[in-house]
Symmetry: C2
Subunit: 196 residues, 2 copies
DNA sequence: GTCTATAGCCCGATAGAC
DNA sequence: GTCTATCGGGCTATAGAC
């Protein structure tokens, strides 16, 4: 109805995140961020006086809130197997069933500010820690639990990369299905096929 | 000794690859490529009249030659287990023990030319095909062999991402150690711990 | 808090000397 | 085949009206 756009903070961060996720930090131009959000560049600078680095930091903080929701079942659900199954569902949803990339990957190439890379590393460590705890609850000893948690993150990030490169998200679906067995050591409906 | 630099083609492609690998396609500025190669921008345009897209294509072609060397043991060595073990050594070497990224990841974000993304997809498919064949030779049926090959690529790409994000390459070492068991189903010195 | 307009710089790319 | 110098444009960022 007018030449003024007003954008909800939540939607704004989601639009910014979509650009950073798809294009990476250096690929996310102010013009693209302006297009995605419907705000002019000057309006983005009003919201984020720190410029593009501040936008990236805000996006990662918002991703941290999303991660908190994704990981919430790991402490809220008593059964480790059920907890991991619910986390897997939320991971799949958060990554649009493998059709979008992960900021931990795309925002950590050289060219991103050190603060951004450090923030991403913190998110990754937090995710690994939460998965380590649920793996330990399922019966793994400390070292084995940490190993499983890192493997889980590896399989998720790798599946997102392979899905993007091949142009089809089926590999991500497989990684999600394998998560419960990978983290808790129990066989769900999938079998990872590494019998001795 | 002079203001003219002459650069061997092999070294030139290696220097260009290092920049694209670390910064991604859109992050790899002509200035950075000029710095890395020791050639001025105009000299790069003399070598690559197609500009930055042509440089990226040449880098991916060179990566394809490296992949051919990495995958050569898969057909040259009779024992599947020994073949995979030798491939794993070469993969580790090609990625500097996990300290560098993979162009399949960094050059396929939005912003890269479609031709570049397609070329990367072809490299990924070729790699998966070669690993599928060795998995089949080790006794897996067709479907299982393909599944193992995709999982192997997922674990390599994921480990490279996680190693970069966390700033330490130990996760890549683990993925390399797990490759033989993952592809051939035999237990080497590592156990992936998914007992039923 | 949004906009238009623009500053100043670096981008990819080219012209032309040697 | 390398270089210096430069072009036009997109980049991040800012000024100032409404």
């Amino acid at each position: 109805m007018s030449r003024t756009a007003s954008v909800d903070d939540r939607a704004l961060l989601a639009s910014l995140a979509a650009v950073f996720r798809a294009q990476g930090y250096s690929g996310a131009s102010l013009a693209a961020l302006s297009d995605a959000t419907g705000l002019q560049k000057a309006s983005l600078y009003h919201r984020f006086p720190g410029g593009k680095p501040a936008m990236a930091a805000a996006v990662l903080s918002d991703v941290g809130r999303t991660f908190a929701e994704v990981l919430e079942p790991l402490t809220a659900i008593e059964s480790p197997a059920a907890a991991v199954a619910e986390m897997a569902r939320r991971v799949s949803s958060a990554y649009a069933d493998g059709r979008v990339g992960c900021v931990l990957d795309t925002m950590t190439l050289e060219g991103a500010p050190t603060a951004v890379k450090d923030q991403a590393a913190g998110l990754a460590r937090h995710w690994i820690d939460a998965m380590t705890q649920v793996a330990a609850r399922s019966g793994a000893d400390e070292e084995e639990a940490a190993r499983r948690a890192r493997s889980a993150l590896v399989s998720i990030e790798g599946a997102l990369v392979v899905s993007r490169v091949l142009g089809e998200p089926s590999e991500f679906d497989r990684a999600i299905e394998a998560l419960p067995a990978l983290l808790t050591g129990t066989t769900g409906e999938t079998d990872r096929g590494t019998a001795r």
